[in-house]
């Protein structure tokens, strides 16, 4: 039992401790309304982080995710402008845009041999340029109720848990699908092999370009889904996605993902996202001003990497 416990990813322990602290300080979070609301707020970061994990495990970064979230919210609101009948095709168009962005990122990295940090940085600047040009710099349009359903609606009067936000269902479904692809298919193995050693993976017959395209598309599509959720519960603004890509990377790193080469798991990454959100919640309960979040995020980001490196060296990995 003991060795098992030692091998367990410490992120789960941290998560339990944080939840305990939150529950003691504010019993509201023990009630369904409290923890469901918490999960709802964590849903976009969890989805983004798991998408980002695909790119991190492939050995790269996706810095364009946050800008894509903004573009999704701004674009949907302009295209829809309150017209509820158009919601479905706008969602399909946005997911299609996500696929295009992901493929473009991957091809720039694969064909033009541009490091992913620069390629996605260029994409980030381009996407926020498009969002600003399109909207003229200020939020326009209006999101109809059935678009906001995903982020805002609560299914009420359920037995046991009483309420269930639709955002949480979306999070569970999307993360389960991405868990399956990462940990139960050959694709997942190829992805990790490529992140570990691209040359060896190529010689072993891994199609690098195709593998990379899927990884970047997963990240971009998850950004679009996160954007749809955020548009639902946070509303339309031009800075809704700012900094989210860094939160996603932070969450993946807290979960133990190793930068520039696979090792991260979907479960631990979701736990990482919840740790981040729990930390923000805790700071909020304790009455710290918002900027303190940044300081804490920076400190836990560095310490997560230090601890992961220490564990790896000790276990001889």
């Amino acid at each position: 039992m003991m060795p098992r416990l030692k091998q367990m990813n410490p992120v789960f322990l941290v998560l339990i401790l944080l939840f305990a602290a939150i529950a003691i300080l504010s019993p509201y979070f023990l009630q369904p309304a409290g923890y469901m609301n918490f999960l709802k707020r964590a849903a976009p970061i969890a989805i983004l982080a798991v998408g980002q994990l695909y790119v991190i495990n492939s050995g790269g970064f996706d810095l364009s995710a946050g800008a894509l979230v903004t573009l999704t919210v701004i674009g949907s609101s302009i295209l829809l402008d309150g017209d509820a009948s158009a919601t479905w095709w706008v969602i399909i168009v946005m997911l299609g845009a996500g696929v295009i962005v992901g493929v473009a990122n991957a091809l720039v990295v694969s064909w033009l041999k541009v490091p992913s940090i620069i390629a996605t940085l260029g994409m980030m600047i381009t996407l926020s340029g498009i969002a600003l040009t399109w909207s003229g710099g200020a939020p326009r349009g209006y999101l109809p109720e059935n678009f906001r359903f995903f982020g805002r609606y609560l299914i009420k009067d359920l037995p046991l848990i009483k309420i269930l936000p639709v955002a949480v269902i979306v999070m569970v479904v999307v993360c389960a699908a991405m868990w399956w692809l990462m940990h139960r298919t050959n694709y997942g193995k190829r992805l990790v092999a490529m992140g570990d050693n691209p040359k060896a993976a190529m010689l072993a017959g891994v199609p690098l370009t195709e593998t990379r395209i899927v990884a970047f598309v997963m990240s971009s599509v998850s950004a679009v889904i996160a954007g749809i959720l955020l548009g639902g519960f946070a509303g339309v603004s031009t800075d809704v996605g700012v900094g989210l890509e860094l939160q996603a990377i932070t969450a993946a790193v807290i979960g133990g993902a190793q930068l520039l080469g696979g090792r991260g798991t979907v479960g631990a990454t979701i736990a990482g996202a919840l740790v981040l959100q729990a930390m923000f919640t805790l700071l909020n309960i304790l009455g710290f001003p918002k900027p303190v979040r940044d300081v804490v995020q920076g400190l836990i980001l560095i310490s997560a990497v230090v601890i992961a490196g220490y564990r790896r060296r000790r276990s001889g990995g």
């Binding site: 492939s58 050995g59 790269g60 970064f61 720039v108 990295v109 033009l112 041999k113 541009v114 490091p115 992913s116 940090i117 620069i118 390629a119 940085l121 260029g122 994409m123 980030m124 600047i125 381009t126 996407l127 926020s128 340029g129 498009i130 600003l132 040009t133 003229g136 710099g137 691209p198 040359k199 190529m202 690098l208 860094l246 990377i249 790193v253 930068l259 520039l260 001003p289 918002k290 900027p291 303190v292 979040r293 940044d294 300081v295 804490v296 995020q297 920076g298 400190l299 980001l301 560095i302 990497v305 230090v306 490196g309």
Partner: protein, 321 residues
């Protein structure tokens, strides 16, 4: 077709890109009949508008040469500008203490970055990203508007002129020459190339690689604080958002890479970076003359960064992330 030797390309590519940018600039100015933009004064002014980016990018060159990177420069610029202007508070006698304090902050931040990277073996992206978040948080927890005031004597840094050339431009070129001499002719300078090119070989050759990495990060952070001093002098006061607004972290990395310094370290130099800065300001002016919408400008900028890096990357057949 014969492939040119990489070594020649590295020196030549930024120059060719710069030449192309100049040709397009001249072409657009003539085509739109705005030949008043073609005076020597105007061309010098181009660089003058990017002093802060230039100073930051010279520092960033050191970090990238040792195969590291510094994402904390933008927030450090804000910290430096706000700190300088609050210490000075319009009092000329406080100029020296303020500059000393700000430079000391730069040394400390660079030391911490370098120590976290070398002692805890934290990936530099993460280490400096964490530092960026910490600096930003501390800053916005303390200030939310313009803070303090810069005395008139200090505004000379941004607005003063010697023989018709602005002092800040002379400073930038002087800094570039100093950095070039340091990298080209001194032992610590050549150590930077050795450590960046192959850290294991440098270590086996008896070099104290951790010291070199820490030194490069200190230089990078100190340059960022100088850029902050310049911006405080230019805006006459420090604001906690100036670093973020200028996107100095990502832009400085972009110009260094466009200037031909490899992200994998060990190759490149500060003259390339200076050319990268000029290419960036030329692109900006081309858009201005051509009357491109401010937001559309940003779209083109993103595309150009990627395209320019692709020009370098195409010749390297390595598989990179």
């Amino acid at each position: 077709m014969k492939v040119p030797k990489p070594k020649n390309m590295t020196a030549l590519a930024p120059f060719l890109l710069l030449l192309a940018a100049v040709v397009i600039y001249v072409g657009v100015a003539i085509a739109t009949g705005q030949t008043q933009y073609l005076t020597a004064e105007n061309l010098l002014g181009l660089l003058g508008r990017s002093i802060a980016l230039g100073i930051t990018a010279i520092g960033q060159t050191f970090a990238i040469l040792i195969a590291s990177i510094d994402l904390s420069v933008a927030n450090l610029i804000s910290v430096s500008a706000v700190l300088a202007s609050s210490i000075m508070s319009g009092d000329p006698s406080m100029m020296l203490p303020a500059v000393a304090a700000v430079l000391a902050v730069g040394v400390v931040v660079g030391l911490i970055n370098g120590l976290v990277i070398t002692q805890f073996e934290v990936n530099p992206l993460i280490a400096t990203l964490g530092m960026a978040l910490i600096l930003q948080g501390l800053l916005s927890a303390t200030f939310n508007n313009f803070a303090g005031e810069v005395p008139e004597a200090f505004q000379v840094f941004a607005y003063g002129q010697v023989g018709g050339i602005s002092i800040s431009l002379i400073f930038l070129i002087g800094l570039t020459i100093a950095a070039w001499v340091f990298l080209r002719f001194t032992k610590p300078g050549s150590n930077i190339y050795s450590v960046g090119g192959n850290p294991d070989a440098a270590k086996l050759a008896g070099m104290r690689t951790t010291r070199v990495v820490i030194m490069a990060h200190v230089i990078c952070s100190v340059c960022a604080t100088i850029a902050g001093l310049y911006l405080a002098s230019r805006l006459r006061s420090g604001a906690p958002w100036i670093g973020r607004d200028g996107v100095y972290d990502l832009e400085s990395i972009a110009v260094v890479v466009i200037g031909g310094t490899a992200l994998s370290g060990g190759r490149g130099g500060v003259w390339g970076t200076l050319m990268g800065v000029m290419i960036f300001s030329l692109i900006d002016s081309i858009f201005n003359i051509a009357g491109v919408d401010a937001f559309a400008k940003q779209i083109l900028r993103g595309v150009i960064i990627v395209a320019a890096v692709a020009v370098y990357a195409m010749r390297s057949r390595r598989i990179e992330a």
